[in-house]
Symmetry: C2
Subunit: 654 residues, 2 copies
Amino acid sequence: MSHKRNIYLRTVPIPEALERVKSLLNRAALVGVEKIPTEQALGRVTASPVTARLSSPTFHCAAMDGIAVRGESTFAAREGSPVTLSPGEGFALVNTGQPLPPGFDAVAMIEHVVFDDAGNASLETPVAPWTHVRRIGEDIVATELILPRRRKLTAYDLGALLSCGVWEVDVYEQVRMAVIPTGDEVLDYTSRPEPGPGQVVESNSVMLCALAQGWGLDARRRPPVRDEPGALARAVEEALNSPAHVVAILAGSSAGSKDFTRAVMERFGEVAVHGIQAMPGKPSLLGVAQGKLLVGAPGYPVSAVVCFEELLAPLAAWLSRCEPARRPSVPVRLAKDVPSRPGLTEFLRLAAGRVGEGYSAIPLSRGAGLITTLTKAQAVARIAQDREGVARGEVVQAELLVSQDELERTLVVVGSHDNTLDLLADELMRLDSPLRLASSHVGSLGGLTALAQGAALLAGAHLLDTESGDFNFPFIARHLPGVEVAVINLAIRHQGLMVAPGNPKEIQGVGSLARPDVRFVNRQRGAGTRILLDYNLKLAGIAPSQVQGYAQEETTHMGVAANVKNGAADCGLGVFSAAKALGLDFVPLARERYDLVLPLASLEEPRVQTLLAVLGDKAFQGKIAALGGYETTWTGRRMEPGMGLPPDNVDMAN
Amino acid sequence: MSHKRNIYLRTVPIPEALERVKSLLNRAALVGVEKIPTEQALGRVTASPVTARLSSPTFHCAAMDGIAVRGESTFAAREGSPVTLSPGEGFALVNTGQPLPPGFDAVAMIEHVVFDDAGNASLETPVAPWTHVRRIGEDIVATELILPRRRKLTAYDLGALLSCGVWEVDVYEQVRMAVIPTGDEVLDYTSRPEPGPGQVVESNSVMLCALAQGWGLDARRRPPVRDEPGALARAVEEALNSPAHVVAILAGSSAGSKDFTRAVMERFGEVAVHGIQAMPGKPSLLGVAQGKLLVGAPGYPVSAVVCFEELLAPLAAWLSRCEPARRPSVPVRLAKDVPSRPGLTEFLRLAAGRVGEGYSAIPLSRGAGLITTLTKAQAVARIAQDREGVARGEVVQAELLVSQDELERTLVVVGSHDNTLDLLADELMRLDSPLRLASSHVGSLGGLTALAQGAALLAGAHLLDTESGDFNFPFIARHLPGVEVAVINLAIRHQGLMVAPGNPKEIQGVGSLARPDVRFVNRQRGAGTRILLDYNLKLAGIAPSQVQGYAQEETTHMGVAANVKNGAADCGLGVFSAAKALGLDFVPLARERYDLVLPLASLEEPRVQTLLAVLGDKAFQGKIAALGGYETTWTGRRMEPGMGLPPDNVDMAN
């Protein structure tokens, strides 16, 4: 292994990256024209204007069910003084779409015709010539233009082409792409592997091929290649000699000691771009070899998606001769501060939903390796290169990844985390018109602040006022002064210390946290659970500095539980249900009230009423209770100041 | 043939139609759950929440290229006072994504490391534990929810599922549909037929299957069936016994003497709806047989599309357990009056483009048989049941059929028709960033009025002021008082009488139009060509009543030419290029100036500047000249009042 690394990439802005590689490609030579059957041409792009071979209609025909007549013969018809026509010479029955029999030039609607027993027809209204007649070529005259060049063919277009007798159509080739996953650590998902330490399931190729297929590409995955220059070169050479127009290499695009993508690209052709001024996605590569486009995508899923969406998608559209699909965008109010690095365009993924007259958005976790950020994202904001960050409450423009409609159905909950929220989310998805719950875990206080700024519909809070023993209301008075709110109980829950099965370190309560052999994992500042811990430490006379791991923060109960589960910590404070989910033991500490806080003005919204109906449903309350460590005595009830807790009626360890 | 017809349908509003048929369907029994490989599940809908089988990551790993260290061992590092670590015990080289070797708990970025010749690494900055480390389960903890139920799986979701070791996923079955085209007049397109009189190519099935596929259905076309109850019953029975969940019968849904769809539906099951309060699309049928959904779509293409988009699409979404896709909508200003029938929701298709700060929209021709209306439509407006019409200049909400972006690239031209506009449209589509030309043919005066109302970007006009001999300016002064405009010449064109090849009726000029054996076809009121005709008739002392066919109007030169071509008329006034396109002879009458008029404020818009560049291009002018009957002396030049016509330098008959 060499210590020499090509550390510095020369990053360029995305538009420059695209121009550079376009200037090295001969589009006409790379993606040509082919003639294909019309019925197979959906989504393909016409290479030349298409003209009609047949007129539409090809004959004068009835536009209504009725009788074909000579208009002239009906001119005398008046109410009370009908004109009577005899079958054959005077009229003929016609159905919609049937040709007009020779000699007739108009159609009288069947509703206006009275037939007598002899089969004669009489009319009380005159019919002008060409009434209810579709004339030859009314829609399209043979030789006329049906579709322009560079038209991405729609379902309607296929119908139009076939109806005009155009059986085949000249279109640009579909852009074909070979996708080569790489990495010593990746396992081929097709073998359904069980990853050992240091191994991961290779899944980016499936995700990226599916994305590209959505853009109209014929994207095909090839088997993963090890981090070995020779093996990678062989795989790239094979792909270059295949019918693919584009060869994408996944991972190895950075400048580490095992990153061979650039070197292999240079072996076959020319690198146009190594590094874009974007985050994530910075270590992207673009090049050209044998006249084909080469793409080197970063290995992290979110980075790879940015590389594909921002570089490959516009290049593929350019090769296909169609316009790149731009996403619709809406203004959203951020529910959380977002620092960002100047000099790079940051792609910030968001969960978003209607709040009042606008939309609020939760910035999702920004690790490039977090695939859940991709699955949760409903929108993406570009934070410009010159910004150092965006503050909570600020409004930014966000491009939609889902329909705008979905934002109307999304309830933005900001605040403390509780597993009951996941249960609630599932319950809301079971409805006939499902509602989505987008939740951000910023702690109870963060939730109240977001609510105050109009950046959340609901705040989840379990804030104990140690002086009064009441929950939430004293904090609402302080953080939402003058705002009328409704406070709805979600559940009473049990907090305690989560410990390894069998409690090997014999942890008995907060007193044990001062022991030098006990490693703790904490929740973040502002979390109600953190406040609960601090309160109990104070009662026990223990300083935070005495607790090993006090500075190590997680933002969810499950995050804390996972640390205990895998031995990174010996214990952490959290709810019973999180301990139960991961098979941990639980040392009870306290009961607390978890409420949903919302502006009174939102209480009458239909989707909030739906939410309340779900909370009041006994079957749903049963599901909460089944999680363990919850009481549902007050679930769905509106809380008033000073209510505190209901009487203790459940064994705390359940 | 029987005269008895089931004339009256009982029409219901669309929402009621949907509820009625839903109440007859058992969704759970009809569309079940199946387990399929994750990599094949794009676009499918989850039947239950999906939890992770593996954590992500499954091990602590490096989040950066660098060296793995024990955080503690670096705490003393300061600028100018580095900490030096030896390989193996003190540090280990790691690349992004690699597991952290045992004993290490942090990563120092390679950029911050200095290596000496002995291979030792020194750092001038301390590294806190867990810096640049992705901890186990940071993204997903095994057993945690990855995706909720009723999630329509995206490319991102497939990546997330595979990376968490979820190889198979429970999804609802894809909705399968059998589509049966019917009709005595239809020819199967697969045989590449040449339609005779009264015959048409069956193309609706291809269009509707492609539409349905776009909504995620597995739609399969069956061979066309004749208008014969027995044959239709056999085809429906076969489809009902196939794996299809939905059987759609195309055409025969009305109440004519050859409409058997309803009767056949009743033979196998129950008809829930016959007739919806919509136009087009009124004679739609919905029913249930053998627990499956039956759809009877009208035979006209636009009607069939409304039936599918408004009835089938939401029902298929309901069966699929996903939300129906609602189209985004924007406000548009109508460029033309639209009468509509109260009592029916009218679906009005529109071509639309940016004009000033808003969008303008051209209502497309409304015949239910006009497939070009479908191909030209960029948006669709619902005119409410209680409206009697919408006036030019009024703003309505329009649902987008294309991206909003396409509207920004669309130039709305309203006014007179000229074949050069088609040529211009094609030229604009050849650009690197193509522009679309959406044109409405309402005559020159209609164009100027639309311009005055902000309902058009450009007006095409060739209005001769018979007193001054000048073109357009006198009319602009009258119809656009106080509006500053720019007038750009498109071409000088030759108008004349189009006659059958060889001019069998020996038509010599307007004088011949008074002959009783000459049938004329006219242009609509307000058309510049109509004004030219009236002027010349007046000069010749001929009254309109003397001209046979004076009342029969077409709105385009090609429409007039088509009437002459197929013998519906002996002659019509129009441009040389239209006569040439259909192989007609041409009796020259006059030269005239065809200009594009636009508000001065729009002249500097980039897309208008692009248009002017195209008009000024000599190669493009050559293409205009090649049409025949055009002079391009002034093409692309800005016109001033009083310029009239350039000197005659081309043989008028070309």
